[in-house]
Chain length 413, copies 2
């Protein structure tokens, strides 16, 4: 099945936001056996929207749009598509009711302007959007389909998963495009490539891609247009081979967060975790608590951004700070010990470093980060000099801290 | 001047990489006075590439492509464009020489396959690419222009800045596409639209877009194809009008982070800030410390995820936790007071809430968040019920906490 994607928004063409919806649609649709043959972006202009939808229908007959479903005047997708199909816009009472209820739940009355969001082209199927005010719409006539989704990524994603993909799966027959990933961390792309070696011939017709990010290098293996059972069997084998070659650098598969892996390791040991962070300023805690259910393992911690917090709250001896500096093995060790002692728990993580852009020295350049982990009375420390800007250095530091704990816990299974 | 952008690559349509080139081209071209009227992505397929370029030339007459210039079999842009113009591919001796020199510098001999990268359509201008092996190409005939750039972002960026934009600026003769933004928070899109009212006629020919995110709603006003001084004058006036109508919901312009605004307010008062966060788990601290130079204002704080930290480290009376629950005005107030007292500073922020997906009750549904701010002995508290998933609720809570402090400090200028 072939599909065209049309993302609508002047801000996309001006490059003021990066079009992540297009990529997400491409991935999800491939998984459902639908091939995106074109992706087009146009501005919030009635003529541009109508022409783009008309062309896509002419060529491919199936188009998914994002954007232009909000309540304001620059939201015009619905109107243009309805006109193209020769349909009137009508108030949908169900949508109107759920809009009013949504505003009530949030303790507000619905502004009159939102009433336009309950207008749907006659004959369209409403795709309920519990995450926002704009419902999705599925308009189909004589084999021509236009699916309209909101542009807000979380709303688009929800509607795609809950409403669009199930409908597509029922239409597609048999062959799929499917990917699996092996996530690694603590090893550079080139070093990982040497470990993995020339595996491409072995896994063909599957393909392999190396995708580096601040969390590490993801190995993505893809089966193209195979029958589902054949694709799955080949992917299983390829993933097993890749995991074996990546060794202890591999920590999980598709979408697995290293923080979730560590929380699970600790949960299995009935251990609880505290943290002390300086240069990451809360980012490590945010990573850990982004995992639902973190609260049975994670107690909290101290953001020791200023040295007064390191010495005051964490009991880091001022003479260590003076003699070795805040970014040192001695201080990060004292931070981990201090926070572990204060909360009397089994596991503690600490980070101190220089995230930049200023503060580097020849001995401790920007990117220098010390990590420490305590589990019971065991201690591991790690110094890394990370590349990248402030944001990347901080993200890499949080990931490296989690990985240090993962490796320590893995030694004690 | 109107331009179409064509990004070529199967991986884009499958969503395996996000198309950052398109956004970057959009931004850079607008700055040089060229308006991107369409962005299209197609797969590495000869027919798809040729059809897309042909259509764009027909419609707009000027197309910039990225991708498909490498040495391998899936790189076919050059061939298809040459065929479309009825041109042969010819070896360019200059390109061949620089390719060979490049490989020599890296201590390798050039593989025969790379020789194809020295082939250029007859009559094309070669755009030298010192960052990679594929040069850019500018093919122009009878008013039709195709500019071919490599897909590697750093190479694309270099060629764009050094070769393409200067040529475009010479053509554009003064006119630019330029945007400005007014960032707002604490007000829903529809309510903001009612406040702003029907400003569109007043600011025409400038256009206005409402862009909601978890940080609030951004108002983006754009001047299209005006002379630079005229565009700037009109944008100044439009921004002033929008700011006036948005009132105290507006906190800054293009790219301004609310955390940076708050840090600057505190810096001007020589005040220092501490935080206590529960459901956000470090996210508020991460937001604040993402701003370079935060350390002269921000001391640190306590991640009070578990109640033992709230009562232990922050001195929240256990009877408050028992009687009102952790998510209550009483507890958030005690958290702010506790952390302010502990670190003896002027300003404190506290957050406690239910980020979900579990933990909600009919009285306190998922999304319920209490915020408190202390400045000296002044106190403000705010309850919000945020929509969205766990990540969105946490992001909205951090933003609302910062906004609460911004508003309190603004009262005391």
């Amino acid at each position: 099945m072939k599909v065209e994607v049309l993302t609508i928004g002047t801000e996309l063409l001006l490059g003021q936001i990066v079009d992540t919806n297009a990529a997400e649609l491409g991935r999800a649709l491939a998984g459902a056996g639908a091939e995106v043959v074109r992706h087009l972006s146009v501005a919030d202009r009635p003529d541009a929207i109508r022409a783009a939808v008309a062309e896509a229908l002419e060529r491919t007959g199936f188009v998914i749009t994002t954007g232009g479903l909000g309540p304001t005047r620059d939201d015009m997708t619905k109107r243009e598509v309805a006109a193209l199909f020769g349909k009137a816009l009508e108030i949908d009472e169900g949508v109107l009711r759920s809009l009013e209820e949504r505003f009530q739940r949030l303790g507000r009355t619905m502004p009159p302007i939102n009433r336009t969001q309950a207008e749907v082209p006659a004959g369209a199927t409403v795709l309920p959007n519990p995450r926002g005010t704009a419902p999705g719409l599925w308009l189909e006539e004589q084999g021509r389909v236009v699916v309209m989704l909101p542009g807000v990524p979380s709303e688009m994603r929800g509607l795609l998963a809950e409403e669009v993909l199930p409908r597509l799966a029922r239409r597609a027959a048999g062959s799929v495009v499917r990917s699996r990933t092996v996530r690694t961390t603590g090893i550079a792309e080139s070093a990982l490539a040497e470990r993995v070696g020339a595996i491409e011939d072995e896994i063909a017709p599957l393909t392999l891609a190396y995708l580096p990010s601040t969390d590490g290098v993801e190995l993505r293996v893809t089966a193209w247009s195979l029958r589902e059972d054949d694709a799955n069997r080949r992917l299983d084998a390829a993933v097993a081979a890749l995991r074996a070659r990546a060794g202890d650098h591999s920590y999980g598969g598709d979408g697995v967060d290293l923080a979730a892996v560590v929380l699970q390791q600790l949960r299995a040991r009935r251990a609880r975790l505290v943290i002390a962070e300086s240069c990451t300023g809360g980012l490590l805690g945010a990573r850990i608590t982004s995992i639902p259910g973190a609260s049975d393992v994670f107690i909290g911690g101290v953001i020791a951004y200023d040295n007064v917090v390191k010495s005051g709250t964490l009991d880091v001896p001022p003479e260590l700070l003076e003699q070795y500096g805040a970014v040192s093995e001695q201080v990060v060790t004292a931070m981990a010990e201090g926070v572990q002692r204060q909360f009397a728990v089994d596991a503690a993580l600490a980070i101190t470093g220089i995230a930049g852009p200023t503060g580097g020295t020849p001995e401790k350049p920007v990117g220098t980060v010390w990590h420490a982990v305590r589990f019971g009375d065991q201690l591991r420390t790690l110094r890394r000099i990370f590349p990248g800007d402030r944001g990347e250095i901080r993200a890499r530091a949080a990931q490296a801290a989690l990985d240090l704990l993962r490796r320590l816990l893995a030694e004690h299974t």
